[in-house]
Symmetry: C2
Subunit: 313 residues, 2 copies
Amino acid sequence: MIKDEKSLNEKQLIREFFSDVGSAYLADQDIILGVGDDAAVIKNSKNQCSVLSIDTALSDIHFFSDMDPSDIAYRSVSISLSDLLACGAKPSWFILSITLEETSIDWLSKFKSGLEDISSEFCIPLIGGDITKGPLSITVQVGGYTSESDIIRRSTANDEDLIFVTGSIGKSFQSLLNYKEGKGENSSYTRPSLRKGVAPKLNGIASSAIDISDGLFQDLNEICKLSKKGAEVYLEKIPHPFGDDLDFSLLNKGDDYEICFTAPKNFREKISQISQEENVRISEIGKITNSNEIRFFNGKKEVLVGLDGYQHF
Amino acid sequence: MIKDEKSLNEKQLIREFFSDVGSAYLADQDIILGVGDDAAVIKNSKNQCSVLSIDTALSDIHFFSDMDPSDIAYRSVSISLSDLLACGAKPSWFILSITLEETSIDWLSKFKSGLEDISSEFCIPLIGGDITKGPLSITVQVGGYTSESDIIRRSTANDEDLIFVTGSIGKSFQSLLNYKEGKGENSSYTRPSLRKGVAPKLNGIASSAIDISDGLFQDLNEICKLSKKGAEVYLEKIPHPFGDDLDFSLLNKGDDYEICFTAPKNFREKISQISQEENVRISEIGKITNSNEIRFFNGKKEVLVGLDGYQHF
């Protein structure tokens, strides 16, 4: 029972109002994973599951309305694909529902070229759509496949597992700042590059995973809460594009679309090998504990760091 | 090549900008039906296809923001399910992406009860969701199953097929008028009742079908265009709730969520039987022709009727 309206964030809202609608039918409909994880998983047959994820991107909240329309398209589809990759699924198709203020041929042509870019990159067709007139927003549903044993959940981290992140955390936020100031490189924000080489290699290795959309600490906290575990995080081990004397909240701004995952110690070597093969930095940044809190250390010193990253409400 | 920006309607926009994105990958990804039909169809196995449809409902365009939130929920999911039924699929699950101005517990509790109503009616669970903050809009993705041979397309009407509609056309528009005037029955608008008894019985009978969302004539025209056929429509045979001296455009207002389908003559008896079994009126209102136009007759007199129903742009 939620008492304080002000305290509701997106995840609490989903849990309170959407997690159990029709849950009595989940088994009958062969649903393996429902509301609350990166994606929904449906069992099609003994060896194949469909994996589905939906994301809505709103103008001037999730992207800037004055961005190149091809980047708006690319970014919107990327964000949805990111959930699928974190689940251990191979993307197969996408569906678009777009709300537009007006139908500018020029804008739509550019938008289409962004869709074509991401479609080609992942070899996935657009298979359905809806267009409505209103404030610009883009909802993307992506679908893919995996086997039941290869699904990587958020809720299955184990005590003593190591915590890893791909790439550099905060790069997208830095890119966003550049975008706002109209200077320098900003493609980490406009065209986030997903870990499509690393992700499929984590099957059988990662004990849990999440894509970093809301902020590293907030998303790691999601793994901990759902797994009923805690964590120790070694801040100095987190790669970032900022200088020294870092305000650690910069590592929790979201939009990274890197993968945060946990894995048993004995996979350390294997993970290092994947990092080399895919030429993607994978950093060990902490470990899962049997407590119910996340503790942060900067070198040997324990420091207090807020968990709240991007808040949708 | 579209030259006149003003002339683009929703279907033209979809065809021009979204129908061929990544179409080179359709076969590889086992996509049987892509952009442009009621729903997308994916082949899972020899005997089973997944059928998917997405619809976005915007506040004060597709529903009234002051409607009971439970009706907003019910209506939004219904509209999406309607596409699936028209395709000959059995609904199995739904996914929701909702954009909200604010998180009112009272509003959300009522909204949830509407989701529960439609979920129970169709025995389908909510399996995923996304919540964002912005102008109220609701995107619903529904999924279901059918066999490849049971898919009913829009594009497969044949010359001499008869044209049928379920129910009464314009009931929802009448209900909408009642709603606006704050009087009388308005549940046809707030809680459209889908033809879930009739729809599955049309497998093997209907040569084509569409759900009537934009208006009977506009939606029938979609069947004709995609099937490269014409039609004759006998206006006096269309059941409606309006009086005599009818302005025929009242039959083309949309939001009916009835099914318009075509079938060969020899199924006339069988269709009459389905109508009786399901206690749903099914009216024969015309026939498909080998021309490229739709002609309307009121009794013996040919009349001109506009095809344009609800225009999204």
